[in-house]
């Protein structure tokens, strides 16, 4: 699906608006969204924008968290979310804010399933010995498992890497 504004990029952000009483889905790309159309950085109201864009009077339906009723407007006022589900329900609007604050959008480090970052880090740094080749393959698999949120496999792979590490240490002594 292409962006309704530039008609060029793929649309990733979706907004329901009401034009003359009829609901309509609008779609746009990150780039156009960042330019101040939706979310936090918008330069003018969404109604004004869609109005000018479509040449009609429009109303928007504000994105709302289904669990707690938090709206983007409220979020902008308080800077605080209402519940954990807000992150999921309003993800596309929160994402640019998070990108802005942290300069990145994906967590690394400790997780409820263990801390995988050290394991990956350690193996990325090691030299190209035979044992390390195996470990390297494993560390790629570990990364993939984490990306797929397959934490069970990740834990198993992590343990295998641990064993290799211990073997290597024993050999070195």
């Amino acid at each position: 699906m292409k962006c309704d504004i530039c008609k060029k990029n793929d649309a990733t952000i979706h907004q329901t608006i009401i034009v003359n009483g009829n609901k309509e889905e609008m779609h746009f790309c990150e780039e156009c969204a960042q330019k101040g159309v939706v979310g936090f950085n918008k330069a003018f109201s969404m109604e004004d924008f869609f109005g000018a864009f479509l040449g009609k009077e429009v109303k928007t339906i504000e994105p709302t968290c289904k669990s707690c009723g938090m709206t983007i407007e409220q979020l902008k006022k308080t800077g605080r979310l209402g519940c954990e589900d807000c992150y999921n329900e309003l993800r596309q609007y929160i994402l640019p804010v998070i990108q802005n604050v942290h300069g990145r959008t994906t967590h690394v480090g400790k997780t409820p399933y263990g801390d995988f970052s050290e394991t990956i880090e350690a193996f990325d740094k090691k030299g190209p010995t035979e044992v390390m080749d195996e470990a390297k393959t494993l560390s790629v698999e570990l990364k993939q498992a984490i990306e797929k949120e397959d934490y069970e496999s990740a834990a198993i792979i992590r343990d295998r890497i641990k064993v290799i590490k211990e073997l290597e240490q024993a050999k070195g002594e």
Binding site: C68, R80, E84, V101, H102, H107, G109, D115, E118, E121
Partner: protein, 331 residues
Amino acid sequence: MENNRSVVVSTRIRLARNVSTVPFLQNMDEKAARDVIDNVYDAIGKGYELIELKNISAVDKQILVEQHLISPDLLKSKWGALILNKERTISIMLNEEDHIRMQCILPGLAFSEAYAKIDELDKKIESMLKYAYDSQFGYLTACPTNVGTGMRASVMMHLPALTMQGRMTDVIRALSKFGLTVRGLYGEGSEALGNMYQLSNQVTLGVSEKEIINTIDNSALHLANMEADTAKAIYAKNKIETEDRLYRSYGIFKNAHKLDSKEMMSLLSDIWLAVSLGLLSGITYDELYELMIKAQPAAILKKAGGEINILERDYIRAKMVREATKDITYS
């Protein structure tokens, strides 16, 4: 190590966590807040004290803030509570902006020890309670600025020489390149009273706990050396002026019968510097820091045991200072 104790006052690590399926503070009800308090207190086991803020006086609350055991924000919460260990090195704020904010404070530069302690506590709580977590955003917090690791690592540093030379603006700018921010003694917006600065990480997402700690640990160490070298250089270059200024401060400290908190802080910073340059002895940095915290307004009010006016407060403060510094001698 002993070397940087003249500059590094304390190390602090804080983790923000929320309990899954419980709404964040602004949408919470009393029952949910009660459950958070009870469940966390049950999870951590013996050896901890639970203080519900609604049960203590306004002065006692303020003292907890002065001691850095709670944030001023906890006072705004209807259901705020605090869990403390005996040594007061671990404090867990409940129902602040996030359900759980646990911190470990240790003297000197001690990040690995502080992290080990806080990580153990975190795991203990997590084994009993499910945290709000998202595979993309990590640990979820009420404010998007804390998501990911939910970790704030900070270090309190005494930087009189760099301040004197007007180099703090450059230092702060340089540190910001590493994602570190600098605040005063009492956090955001507070002045750097007594030349005390708190360095902490700004970014919590997309960097691991280890990376955050490494960055701030290295920066603190580097800054501590810079401060010590600068202090020595100032003294070597302006021996008479430096001695005159620091000994005058000592004179006032020893003899004043009225000290407001701002003056106390600036004199204390001079005494601290004099001790680090070997001009005075007979008091440790920990004792100086303890005095600084004990001579804050709410702590004095508590000591007075009742309503006092500003003059009385400044009199009590000066008396405290005279007592605490009576063993100081010229080296």
